[in-house]
C-alpha cells in the first residue's frame, strides 16, 4: 500500500465511506499533499466507491481543493474589495519580487505557490493573506519580506 493509499484508508476509516465523507477526505489529502493528484483522486473514488469523475467535479468546485501540483506553502492573497483598496497590489508585487513567481505559479524548489483568493473575512485588517492555514493581516511590503524570509528557512 502506498503512503497515499494508507492516508486515504485512514481518512475513510475516520470519516466513513459514504458520499458525505467525500469533502473531509479530500481536505485530509490536501492538508498533507497540498493538492489532489490523479492518483489520489482515483484512490479516493475506489475507497468510497463513487465515480472518479464525481470526485474531480466536486473537488474543482472548491477553491481550496487544488487539482494542480502545489508547493509546500500555498500563499493566498485576498483580492476582494477592501484588500484591493488597502494595498493588495503592493503586497503581491513584494511576494512576486521575492519568490520570482507569478500568480498561479510554484517556485522551482517546490516550496511556495502563489494564488489570489476571494474575501478572507479579514477586511478590517486589510490587506490579508493566508499561508496554508495561517492568517496574516495588515500587510505591507516590509511585513511581507519578514514573513516570507521566515518561511524560506522553514
Amino acid at each position: 500500500m502506498s503512503p497515499i493509499q494508507s492516508l486515504i484508508k485512514d481518512l475513510a476509516d475516520q470519516y466513513g465511506r459514504k458520499r458525505e465523507s467525500l469533502l473531509p477526505i479530500l481536505q485530509g489529502v490536501v492538508e498533507q499533499e497540498k493538492y489532489l493528484s490523479e492518483y489520489s483522486m482515483v484512490e479516493i473514488a475506489r475507497e468510497i466507491d463513487i465515480p472518479a469523475a464525481e470526485v474531480y467535479g466536486t473537488a474543482t468546485f472548491y477553491s481550496f481543493l487544488e487539482v494542480k501540483k502545489m508547493g509546500r506553502f500555498i500563499i493566498r492573497v485576498c483580492k476582494t474589495i477592501t484588500c484591493s483598496m488597502k494595498g493588495k497590489s503592493q503586497v503581491l508585487f513584494a511576494i512576486q519580487d521575492m519568490l520570482k513567481i507569478k500568480i498561479g505559479e510554484t517556485t522551482a524548489d517546490g516550496r511556495f505557490s502563489l494564488l489570489e483568493t476571494n474575501c478572507l473575512g479579514l477586511c478590517h485588517k486589510a490587506p490579508a493573506m493566508l499561508i496554508n492555514n495561517e492568517v496574516y493581516t495588515d500587510l505591507t511590503p516590509e511585513k511581507i519580506r519578514e514573513i516570507i524570509s521566515d518561511y524560506m528557512t522553514k
Binding site: T58, F61, T80, I81, T82, N118, C119, C123
Partner: protein
C-alpha cells in the same frame, strides 16, 4: 423627512459572563413551546441577511415528525466585508453552542453541525476544545446533543443554505430548487434548522434575558441589535454592535473619515448608497423608517472620494463571476455579461445606453435566478450604475 436616530451602541453578543452552563440548564427546564414563544415574541430575524423570523423557523421544524432532524450553524461567512461570525466563534463560541443545543431541544434533534468556511480553518482547533467541554456538560445535565464541525473548502455560494447541505452531503455546492425548504427537507433530506452564527448568539441573549429586553431595542419590524462589520475608508474598522433602525447618516458621522462618498450596505450582494441618500436610508429589515430601509448581513463598507466606483463594481463583479455556482443561466452568464459590459462601455466599445440594457438584465437576474444569492448579485450593479453612471462611462 428624515427622522434622526442616534447611533445606539449595545453590548450583548460579546459580553463574556461565563454563565452558559446556567443558561443552558435553565433552557431545558422550560418547555419547547415556551422557548419558541420567547423567540417569536422577541421578533428576532435571521442575521445572515435574508431576515427570516427565527422563532418561526424553529416552530415549523419542531412540528414535523421525522426519525432524524438537524441543527446547523451557518458559519460560511463569505460575503465581502463581513467578518462578525469569525469574531463570535473566536470570542463567545459557547453562546452559539448553547443556542444550538436549545434548538435541538426544541425541535427534537440531537445532532448539530457547524459549517465553518475553509478560510477559517485556523479557528477549528480551539473550537473543537470548546465543543468537547460543551458536550461534556450536556452529558452532565442529561441533554443528548452533539456538535460536529464540517469544514468548507472555499466556495462563497455554500453560504446559501441548500448549497450548504449539498456541500455537507459531499457534492458540489449548488443550491437546490425551493420548495421544499430546509425546515422540511434539509440536510440528508431531513427537517433542518439552519441559523447564522450571529442569530444563534442573539438567541442566547434572548433566552438569558427574556424576549422583552431584546424587543425593546431597535425599531418596529427590526428589533434588537445587530453586529456590523465596518471596513473600507474608515478610521476605525472593526465589529460594532448597534441597535437596528439607525440612519446611515448617523452611521457615517460615527465611522466615516469625513469624506465618505458612498457606503456599500450588505456586502457585494447588497446595495451601494451614495452620500445624497445617507439621510434617507435606514438600516433594518422593512417598514418605512425613513426613505429606504436596507436589510443586511452586517457588512458596511465605506468609500471616500478617492475611490472609483467603476473599480469597486469591477471588483464585485469579478467576485461573483468566479463565485457563482454556475448552474443557472441568469447568474452564470448574467455576471459575465455585467462585468464585460461595463468594461466595454468604459472603453467606448458600447454606447452609454448599453448600461440601460444591462440594468434591465439585472431585473431579469433578480426575477429568475435559482437561489437568493443569484437573485441579489446584481443589486450592487444596479445601485452603483444608477448612482454613479458618469463614473462608469468616463
Amino acid at each position: 423627512m428624515a427622522t434622526t436616530y442616534q447611533l445606539k451602541r449595545a453590548d450583548f453578543v460579546f459580553k463574556n459572563e461565563n454563565d452558559w452552563e446556567q443558561v443552558l440548564s435553565s433552557i431545558i427546564r422550560r418547555s419547547p413551546q415556551e422557548l419558541i414563544n420567547e423567540l417569536i415574541s422577541s421578533e428576532l430575524k435571521g442575521r445572515g441577511g435574508a431576515g427570516f423570523p427565527t422563532g418561526l423557523k424553529w416552530k415549523i421544524t419542531s412540528e414535523l415528525k421525522a426519525d432524524k432532524k438537524y441543527v446547523i450553524c451557518n458559519a460560511d461567512e463569505g460575503e465581502p466585508g463581513t467578518f462578525k461570525d469569525r469574531e463570535i466563534l473566536q470570542r463567545v463560541p459557547y453562546k452559539v453552542l448553547t443556542a444550538m443545543a436549545a434548538c435541538g431541544y426544541v425541535i427534537g434533534s440531537n445532532e448539530g453541525y457547524i459549517y465553518l468556511r475553509g478560510e477559517y480553518k485556523f479557528l477549528e482547533p480551539e473550537l473543537l476544545k470548546v465543543i468537547d467541554e460543551f458536550e461534556y456538560f450536556c452529558k452532565e445535565i442529561n441533554l443528548d446533543f452533539k456538535v460536529k464541525i464540517f469544514m468548507g473548502s472555499g466556495a462563497y455560494i455554500c453560504g446559501e443554505e441548500t448549497a450548504l447541505f449539498e456541500s455537507m452531503e459531499g457534492k458540489r455546492g449548488e443550491p437546490r430548487n425551493k420548495p421544499p425548504y430546509p425546515s422540511t427537507f434539509g440536510y440528508m433530506g431531513k427537517p433542518t434548522v439552519i441559523n447564522n452564527v450571529e442569530t444563534l448568539a442573539h438567541a442566547f441573549t434572548i433566552f438569558k434575558y427574556g424576549a422583552k429586553k431584546f424587543y425593546d431595542l431597535g425599531v418596529q419590524y427590526s428589533r434588537g441589535t445587530k453586529l456590523f462589520s465596518v471596513s473600507g475608508d474608515t478610521p476605525k474598522p472593526g465589529i460594532y454592535e448597534l441597535e437596528l433602525g439607525m440612519s446611515l447618516q448617523d452611521f457615517v458621522y460615527e465611522f466615516g473619515d469625513g469624506d465618505t462618498k458612498a457606503v456599500q450596505v450588505g456586502g457585494a450582494s447588497g446595495f451601494l448608497v451614495p452620500r445624497k441618500k445617507f439621510a434617507d436610508t435606514a438600516i433594518g429589515y422593512q417598514g418605512k423608517l425613513t426613505g429606504i430601509s436596507l436589510p443586511t448581513g452586517g457588512s458596511m463598507m465605506l468609500f471616500n472620494s478617492s475611490r472609483s466606483m467603476f473599480n469597486v463594481l469591477d471588483n464585485y463583479l469579478e467576485f461573483f463571476r468566479e463565485e457563482s455556482c454556475g448552474q443557472c443561466t441568469p447568474c452564470r452568464v448574467g455576471c459575465q455579461q455585467l462585468l464585460i459590459g461595463i468594461k466595454a462601455v468604459k472603453r467606448g466599445e458600447r454606447p452609454a445606453t448599453y448600461l440601460d440594457k444591462l440594468l434591465r438584465l439585472t431585473e431579469t437576474m433578480q426575477y429568475t435566478a435559482k437561489c437568493g444569492l443569484g437573485q441579489s448579485v446584481a443589486n450592487s450593479f444596479s445601485s452603483i450604475v444608477e448612482n454613479f453612471r458618469e463614473e462608469m462611462i468616463y
